[in-house]
């Protein structure tokens, strides 16, 4: 056990700290995540971060990145320091976090050259077209058709729960190109320009009150066959690469730590009968309990980081992050609401609302993440089958 990073890493950290101190005024309000990337500061900020090696660091130079070898410790230091400085970090989102690694693994050279550079510069926003009304947890049953006609794929069908589709210029999605093939073998991975005629995006308001995701309808949408990633019928295999990246993105320990620090602050500042609510022993008990869960997830993340650095498998431990992390984040927000009592339920429009109602938003938004990216129940199937070696449920 050695929690020190060593001199080379510490000097990288010191350099990054100095950079953050002198450039923080250039940062945008937010660096994206699953939200909408509309801040005009975002793209210049991202270009600066790429130039300095703090964003798209491991993306090859020819595709607009830094060309550095992957180093999980450097990645961890970058995440830690941006969070500690309270400065939005490298742009994130489904394009950067999910599509880019997938293209690097499966894309043609031309696809990489064309799509990766604007994506890592945060100029090109992507959405993920996987789920359909009839294909949720059973994603491979998807029915959106991509009929191949010469050098064109003609797409008809519907996607749903499509985050950021209203702001995205591109979609990476799954369509059925081989109607004769078996369920999993008939799917292809397609890059679809969202301004193609025949695409209609209808925002879906979530329980948070925001339109965070959408329905997307396709009517005879003509997409160049050159936008197909990998070979026809390989889409399922390729999508699984993307899903793996998504599961690592959701449930990260630094999100939980950020929420925990905010929770302590809220319970310290909030008063009931003129006393800090933190002085309620029952609430303190729950706060210490959730602190232990948060610390456990931080330690868990360091353990997985070590396994990555050493190229070792973390076994079943690597499969439990999303299930635990999303539930923890939902619970952290829930405890803040309990600490605020009725005041926690005030809507954004109320003059009495605290912090713009962010705890109420987090509480509901995090519940969405418990479901999105593979429901908690699907996660449990994965943990028990791949992690514990238990058999699949026989098909009915």
């Amino acid at each position: 056990m050695d929690l020190r990073y060593g001199p080379a890493y510490e000097s990288f950290r010191a350099e990054l700290r100095a950079f953050l101190a002198s450039h923080r005024s250039e940062a945008p309000r937010d660096s994206g995540g699953l939200g909408v990337l509309s801040d005009t500061k975002l793209a210049p900020w991202q270009r600066l971060l790429i130039e300095r090696g703090y964003a798209a660091r491991t993306t090859p130079k020819e595709y607009g990145g830094g060309g550095f070898a992957p180093d999980p410790l450097i990645a961890a230091i970058i995440a830690e320091e941006f969070r500690a400085a309270g400065v939005p970090g490298p742009a994130s989102g489904q394009g950067i976090d999910m599509l880019v690694p997938t293209l690097l693994e499966h894309g043609s050279d031309e696809q990489k050259r064309r799509w990766i550079p604007p994506t890592v510069r945060a100029e090109l926003i992507w959405c993920q077209g996987y789920s359909e009304p009839g294909a949720g947890s059973d994603l491979a049953s998807l029915a959106t058709v991509g009929r191949v006609e010469g050098d064109t794929v003609v797409v008809n069908g519907q996607k749903i729960w499509t985050s950021t589709a209203h702001a995205a210029q591109m979609m990476f999605g799954l369509v059925r190109t081989e109607p004769e093939a078996k369920k999993h073998a008939g799917i292809s991975y397609l890059l679809i320009p969202m301004d193609t005629p025949g695409i209609e995006v209808r925002p879906l308001r979530t329980m948070t009150g925001h339109a965070e995701f959408n329905e997307v309808f396709f009517t005879d949408v003509r997409v160049p066959l050159a936008n197909l990633v990998g070979r026809r019928g390989e889409g399922w295999k390729i999508a699984n690469t993307t899903l793996r990246h998504e599961r690592d993105m959701l449930g990260s320990a630094s999100t939980s730590e950020g929420l925990f620090h905010g929770l302590v602050k809220t319970l310290t500042e909030e008063r009931a009968d003129g006393r800090r609510v933190l002085e309620d022993p029952a609430l303190r008990d729950q706060l210490a309990a959730i602190q232990a869960r948060t610390l456990a997830m931080r330690c868990h993340a360091m353990r997985l980081l070590t396994a990555r650095v050493r190229g070792e498998s973390a076994g079943v431990a690597a499969l439990v992050t999303k299930l635990n992390g999303c539930q923890l984040n939902h619970d952290l927000a829930g405890l803040a609401l309990d600490g605020m009592g009725e005041a926690g339920t005030l809507s954004r429009e109320s003059a009495r609302v605290r912090d713009g109602g962010r705890w109420l938003f987090h509480w509901m938004f995090q519940l969405g993440l418990v479901i999105g990216g593979g429901t908690a129940q699907i996660q449990k199937n994965i943990i028990s089958e791949r992690g514990l070696g238990m058999p699949r449920e026989p098909r009915a």
Partner: protein, 363 residues
């Protein structure tokens, strides 16, 4: 950065596990229980020969000179085996107290014998955490009176370290006026003792008068981290048993391991155990490298592992169905070991209150 166990530490855990599987398999644990919690002296001597007993004794006194993380690795293996062997008293709390408070002479006299397993000292620490029933030991005029309860590893000890206020006294088992009784709990694998003092003259004092308080609290914190490690071992073994049973038990013409209702219970256990494992390592490592936060980490780790283990041993029992509720099946050894460890040296609510106080959350 390297977060996790080194190859040596993994090997240590593996060797203790193998020793227990060969020397104290659960059938033998059952025999010892049926014999009224008998102490297996031969197994103890062999454990000492492995270097495990003297893990925290410095090398200059014949020990292995290892750290708290190594002790935690051993504790996890002992929990995994539900080993009815002393550990927290003679291998952890007593050597640490001697290291921190003992004179050079006391160290030279006791530490080599602790490391070799020849002497066993238990520490009457429970009342330092909270007094229950009529417990409490007072010192007056160089004599000890009162009662100490829940002395971990007490029945097999031949001497006791007994706090009275901020003094710490060493009392041999045969001291006139001292009565040491077994205090049976649901867990036959971790024998506890009750000590009754009637004007007992202690053999010696550890540390200067009134100076033992901080060392005692520190050693109790270490023991909490190691109880968390032991609970982790209980969790691991319970999940192993549950998965293995679900794979071979058939109902509705198929293994029950293929039912999502059963698989999800097992997945939930694994999902709670893995982050808890990292927390245990971290809390133990804190005593070796991050002393300023070690007390807090120990409180968080032990309270959290108590909750995780309570969930895991209960859920593992449910996965087994009726057989899990029988005495003939082995699972209850871990159910009971976890139930006692949960309460020892502070239950989860007490430890969460301590964590809150350590961070200044309380008024």
């Amino acid at each position: 950065v390297r977060f996790g166990l080194s190859d040596e530490q993994r090997l240590l855990e593996e060797s203790v596990r193998r020793f227990l599987a060969e020397r104290l398999p659960i059938a033998r644990v059952r025999e010892l229980r049926d014999a009224g919690g008998a102490f297996d002296r031969d197994a103890w001597k062999e454990l000492a020969a492995l270097g495990v007993v003297g893990c925290l004794v410095p090398e200059e006194f014949g020990g292995a000179g290892l750290g708290v993380l190594e002790a935690a690795v051993i504790a996890t293996a002992l929990g995994h085996g539900a080993a009815p062997l002393p550990f927290l008293g003679p291998c952890v709390m007593a050597p640490l107290l001697l290291r921190e408070l003992g004179s050079r002479e006391q160290q030279a006299s006791w530490l080599p014998r602790l490391a070799s397993g020849e002497a066993r000292i238990a520490v009457a620490a429970a009342e330092r955490v909270e007094r229950r029933q009529d417990a409490g030991v007072r010192e007056s005029g160089g004599r000890l009176d009162g009662i100490a309860l829940f002395v971990i590893d007490g029945p097999s000890a031949d001497a006791f370290l007994v706090p009275a206020g901020d003094d710490l006294w060493l009392v041999p088992r045969g001291a006139p006026g001292l009565e040491a009784l077994a205090l049976p709990t649901l867990d036959a694998t971790r024998p506890l003792a009750e000590l009754r003092f009637r004007s007992v003259e202690p053999a010696e004092r550890l540390g200067a008068p009134g100076a033992a308080g901080a060392a005692l609290d520190h050693v109790i914190d270490v023991a909490r981290a190691l109880l968390a490690a032991d609970l982790l071992g209980c969790c691991d073994r319970s999940l192993e048993l549950a998965v293995a049973y679900a794979m071979q038990r058939r109902q509705f013409e198929r293994p029950i391991a293929s039912f999502q209702a059963v698989k999800h219970l097992c997945a939930e256990m694994a999902a709670q155990i893995e982050p808890a494992r990292a927390l245990v390592w971290y809390a133990a490592h804190a005593f070796d490298a991050l002393p300023e936060e070690a007390a807090l980490d120990a409180a968080l780790a032990k309270s959290h592992l108590a909750e995780v283990a309570t969930f895991v041993v209960r859920t593992a029992t449910e996965v087994h169905g009726g057989i899990g509720f029988t005495d003939a099946y082995d699972l209850h050894f871990w159910f009971k070991r976890a139930a006692l460890a949960r309460q020892l040296l502070g239950g989860p609510a007490l430890l969460r209150a301590r964590a809150a106080a350590l961070q200044g959350w309380a008024a």
